[in-house]
């Protein structure tokens, strides 16, 4: 498989290192080459485009221009905000009058707006067949088989539809497809695209707590054992803020990045997927998965042996009869 340009953005180098670690581990296992864009810079998320439209376009465009110059046709931006800013800039330059012409001068480098931008969910959805196949042929029992998982998309991964467009903005299914490819059950729930509170985590913590609780409770009421996300901010709001919820005696709900989930299905070691970096301890969850998988494997083995014994007995009987 050809390499894709990897744009980690600040989060995957900082607060969401486990997203970066698990992505690299999973990509390597699936044979997807990731080449980090050399000299990448801030995508300008939130502050850039709220300050000035041109700045909001130019900041991500610089990174697209670098990827172009380094010979790539696809950029992978796992962070939902990065993905949204890069895609929005790409759309603005393609559709707004005169913007494309200004870019080379502004960026101080040639730019033809030729690279497409993907997020991690798109990448994994496109690799779903490979994942499914790898999971099927693995010798170790699949730890995720039959586990109920809730795909949480949040806002920026699928909206606005002109910018993202790869999935339904109100009832998306791409992450659910990845969950199913891993052998787990994607629960049908109601808050797939509700707001997690975003950057209000710091300024209006109480609101973020209220929103996060509603999301977690809805997922739980639909039977989810964990919530799968693909955005560092969603992860932080749902994972970090559970400390406050735990104080009220609410059960913890593990929050996993989509790449971590795929890694678990592919049989990668939890430590390589950054599982220990979460605030909600994932160890009990993983231990339960392992135990379930082992028990299931044992039960299957037993059933197989019984079936074989029965078949042998039947064959014996027929022999005698003959």
């Amino acid at each position: 498989m050809t390499d894709v340009a990897y744009y980690p953005g600040c989060s995957l180098h900082g607060t969401s290192r486990e997203f970066d670690e698990s992505l690299r581990a999973v990509a390597a296992d699936l044979g997807i080459g990731l080449a980090e864009i050399r000299d990448w810079s801030c995508c300008g998320a939130s502050s850039g485009h709220t300050t000035d439209h041109l700045l909001g376009v130019a900041l991500p465009a610089r990174n697209l221009a670098l990827a172009e110059a380094q010979g790539f046709d696809t950029v992978l931006a796992p962070c939902a905000a990065c993905y949204n800013r890069l895609s929005a800039a790409r759309l603005a330059i393609a559709t707004e009058d005169g913007l494309a012409e200004r870019m080379p001068d502004l960026l101080d480098r040639p730019f033809s707006n030729s690279v497409v931008v993907h997020n991690a969910v798109e990448l994994l959805r496109d690799a779903a067949a490979t994942i499914e196949q790898k999971v099927a042929v693995a010798t170790a029992p699949n730890r995720l088989k039959g586990v109920k998982l809730a795909a949480y998309y949040g806002c920026l991964l699928v909206r606005p539809v002109e910018v993202c467009g790869y999935d339904d903005p109100e009832q998306p299914t791409s992450m659910d497809d990845v969950i199913k490819a891993c052998g787990a059950d994607a629960v049908d729930w109601d808050m797939k695209v509700e707001c997690c509170g975003g950057a209000f985590s710091v300024s209006r913590t109480a609101s973020v707590l209220r929103l996060g609780r509603a999301i977690i409770e809805n997922a739980r009421s639909h039977g989810a054992e964990a919530i799968i996300v693909a955005c560092p901010l969603c992860h932080s709001n749902l994972d970090l803020r559970q400390k406050a919820m735990a104080r009220r005696g609410e059960e913890p709900m593990p929050i996993l990045f989509v790449t971590q989930m795929v890694g678990l299905a592919l049989g990668l070691a939890p430590v390589d997927l950054g599982m220990s970096r979460h605030f909600v301890d994932t160890a009990p969850f993983i231990a339960r998965l392992v135990q379930q998988a082992t028990e299931r494997a044992a039960a299957e083995k037993l059933a197989e042996e019984e079936a074989a014994a029965k078949a042998a007995a039947r064959a014996e009987k027929q022999k005698v009869g003959a």
Binding site: D168, P169, E170, Q171, D190, N218, S221
Partner: protein, 675 residues
């Protein structure tokens, strides 16, 4: 030598303000072939017309040019005046110096010069006009009405009462349309079926109405007064002449779990069925898609697995081997009344529409649409009029009504207002409150559009007397949370978010044209708008005519309509059809193309480009009857005089009688040579 009279109209100030009309008349005086010129303040007035008539008689004029407004306005007026003065009316033409000149220019000098040029070109054209006769075509005095809803029934009854035959075609098993599904009607809350069924019966029993249910229009040929229509009678599997409507077949049918279309999916029906008890005609149809016997036959089973309905039928009316049959009818006028369907919020949508993911794409069982609520509220419905929700049959204590679902939402593909929803939502809230006294009815609306006699009073009554809570704002999300349906909305008046734990939600979904209306429009050569509604010929002055002569439109296939409007439109089409049928022959302008058979090479390019299907191939025979060639022939009844054939003719053999090449070149030459 021509002796042409030029009459320049001031149109009050309309032309006179920017064009020096006296100067125009003066300039034309010396134009070769002009024998008389005059200007006058209102040429279309009676004295103005007298002036034209007098000039024709006194100066022995051979042609008339009236420099005034658009020919759409007064061409007829002046042609009639010429006719009365003994001049062939087609020797009179209008020079449009108002819409094409005075209204669009400011400089008086330049506008006057342009008006002179325009008038000169028309004078040059009139020099080549020939006296023509109006075309007369015979009229078949039989009307076709497509669609047996209230609009179609009304149109059929009006025409039939006027003494003319009507062929009424309905694609469903019974006439009645959507109105037969309604419980009560606004703004009087009278029972829909009680007022509709007498009309249905009357249409069925009327000696002048021939009813074809379970039938569709297959093909339409011909033109105004002379249509040839082929009707497909779909295989009913029940002999309409033998069946006495006893209902034994329906009772015997083992396939009893098929969602009923009439009950909007809330009730069940059998495979052989009469859609509802008051159906007209009361003759069942066999739904072959869901019939056990036909399912078996499709699987290729050697023996029929069912046959109960045939066994129990004492009349021997059930016949599994009937096939579609075709009926040809000669028709003089057509009324299109195919009605509407409701927007569906589901994920699967026709092109251009999106559905409502935020409302769960229609997967929440207690979220229903307006027609489903009508069935719940109807005494003949699946709950016998009790308001019970579909999921568990409990009486809902909180019902949310959402206006404008699909309508007025360009994001979802529909920009128009569906017009009736504000009223039926108010009605639904009332009906609900009348039946569930301790219930809570909450309506989310954008604006309340209750224009109509007694309409606003009605919607106020829902709020003030029956206590419906109206919240101005949109609903952002609907989902199922255990036993309740959560409705998240926004109250734009108080600026607050609203969350309602509802037991049932009723969506006022948009009205859309029926499926297949575009194909039907194509068969009839009428146009549709971007949404598929049939276009009227003029939005104000010709609201029930279409751009094809002899085809009229009534009811919700033209735009969202309520019952009174649909009925008014239907009666209007009735009047139009009757006026068409009032004479034995139709007269129309000779603005049609004529083929010169001596030069036509029979390439049929003209037939390929003709948008109206007016051109056909004709054989040319020798004296002893051998075919020796082919030429094109323009049917003057169908030709609309667009001139496309003239533009593509390789051998210059086809010409519009009123716009010959000679006339057009003369007009152009006039612009080139006269300074």
């Amino acid at each position: 030598m021509s002796r042409i009279g030029v009459f320049v109209c001031h149109c009050g100030e309309n032309i006179g303000r920017t064009v020096d009309c006296e100067a125009v008349a003066e300039a034309l005086k010396d134009h070769p072939g002009v024998a008389f010129t005059e200007d006058y303040k209102y040429m279309c007035s009676d004295p103005g017309q007298q002036l034209v008539k007098k000039a024709i008689e006194e100066n022995n004029l051979t042609g008339v040019v009236v420099a005034a407004c658009s020919p759409h306005m007064h061409e007829k007026t002046f042609r009639r005046a010429c006719d009365q003065a003994g001049l062939n009316q087609y020797m009179c033409e209008m020079a449009n110096v108002r819409e094409h000149c005075s209204w669009i220019h400011e400089d008086r000098g330049e506008a006057t010069a342009k008006a002179i040029d325009i008038t000169r070109t028309i004078v040059e054209k009139v020099k080549h006009n020939r006296p023509l006769e109006s075309i007369r075509i015979p009229v078949t005095k039989r009307a076709l009405v497509i669609g047996g809803g209230i609009a179609g029934i009304q149109a059929a009854l009006d025409i039939a009462d006027g003494g003319h035959e009507v062929v009424l075609v309905e694609k469903e098993a019974s006439i009645g349309g959507h109105m037969s599904q309604l419980s009560e009607t606004f703004p009087t809350l009278d029972c829909s079926q009680c007022i509709l069924t007498p009309r249905m019966v009357e249409a069925y029993q009327h000696p002048n109405i021939k009813l074809h249910t379970w039938s569709e229009v297959e093909k339409v040929d011909g033109y105004i007064g002379n249509f040839n229509v082929t009707i497909r009678k779909k295989a009913r599997s029940v002999n309409e002449d033998l069946c006495n409507g006893c209902g034994d077949c329906q009772a015997s049918c083992p396939a009893k779990r098929i969602p009923s279309e009439f009950e909007a999916g809330l009730g069940k029906r059998t495979a052989i069925y009469v859609p509802f008890p008051q159906a007209v005609p009361n003759i069942p149809v066999l739904d072959r898609q869901n019939c056990t016997l036909f399912k078996g036959r499709r699987k290729g089973l050697a023996k029929d697995v069912c046959g109960k309905c045939q066994e129990v039928c004492l009349k021997g009316a059930v016949d599994y081997d009937t096939e579609d049959t075709f009926i040809e009818e000669e028709i003089g006028a057509i009324v299109v009344a195919t009605g509407f369907q409701l927007y569906n919020i589901g994920r699967e949508q026709p092109e251009g529409l999106k559905g409502y993911g935020e409302y769960g794409y229609g997967k929440v069982p207690d979220v229903i649409d307006g027609l489903q609520f009508e069935r719940l509220a109807s005494a003949s419905g699946p709950t016998e009029g009790a308001i019970l929700r579909p999921s568990d049959g409990k009486e809902p204590k909180t019902v949310v009504f959402v206006h404008c679902v699909g309508s007025r939402d360009p994001e979802k593909g529909i920009s128009y207002c569906s017009k009736i929803c504000c009223m039926y939502n108010a009605k639904h809230a009332m009906l609900y409150k009348h039946k569930v006294h301790d219930g809570r009815a909450v309506a989310f609306y954008m604006d309340i559009r209750a224009g109509g006699k007694g309409y606003d009073e009605f919607s106020r009554r829902a709020i003030e007397e029956d206590g419906a809570e109206y919240i101005r704002g949109r609903v952002s999300r609907i989902f199922r949370d255990g036993d309740v349906v959560k409705v998240w909305g926004y109250d734009t008046l108080s600026g607050e978010q609203v969350v309602i734990n509802a037991d049932m939600v009723v969506l006022a979904t948009a009205m859309r044209p029926q499926d297949g209306v575009r194909e039907l429009a194509q068969k009839l050569s009428v146009s549709t708008d971007e949404h598929g509604f049939i276009n009227e010929a003029h939005p104000k002055l010709r609201p029930v005519e279409t751009n094809t002569a002899g085809v009229f439109v009534a009811g919700a296939c033209q735009a969202p309509r309520d019952i009174p409007e649909a009925v008014a439109m239907a009666s209007a089409t009735g009047a139009k059809v009757m006026s068409l049928f009032s004479a034995d022959e139709l007269e129309r302008e000779p603005a049609v193309a004529i083929v010169n058979e001596n030069t036509c090479i029979g390439c049929m390019n003209c037939a390929n480009v003709c948008a109206y299907g007016a051109i056909e191939q004709r054989e040319i025979c020798t004296v002893d009857g051998h075919v020796c060639g082919h030429v094109a022939y323009v049917n003057p009844g169908v030709c609309q005089g667009c001139g496309t054939c003239q533009a593509v003719c390789l051998s210059k053999s086809v010409e519009l009688q009123t716009f010959t090449d000679e006339q057009i070149f003369s007009e152009i030459n006039a612009l080139c040579y006269w300074e």
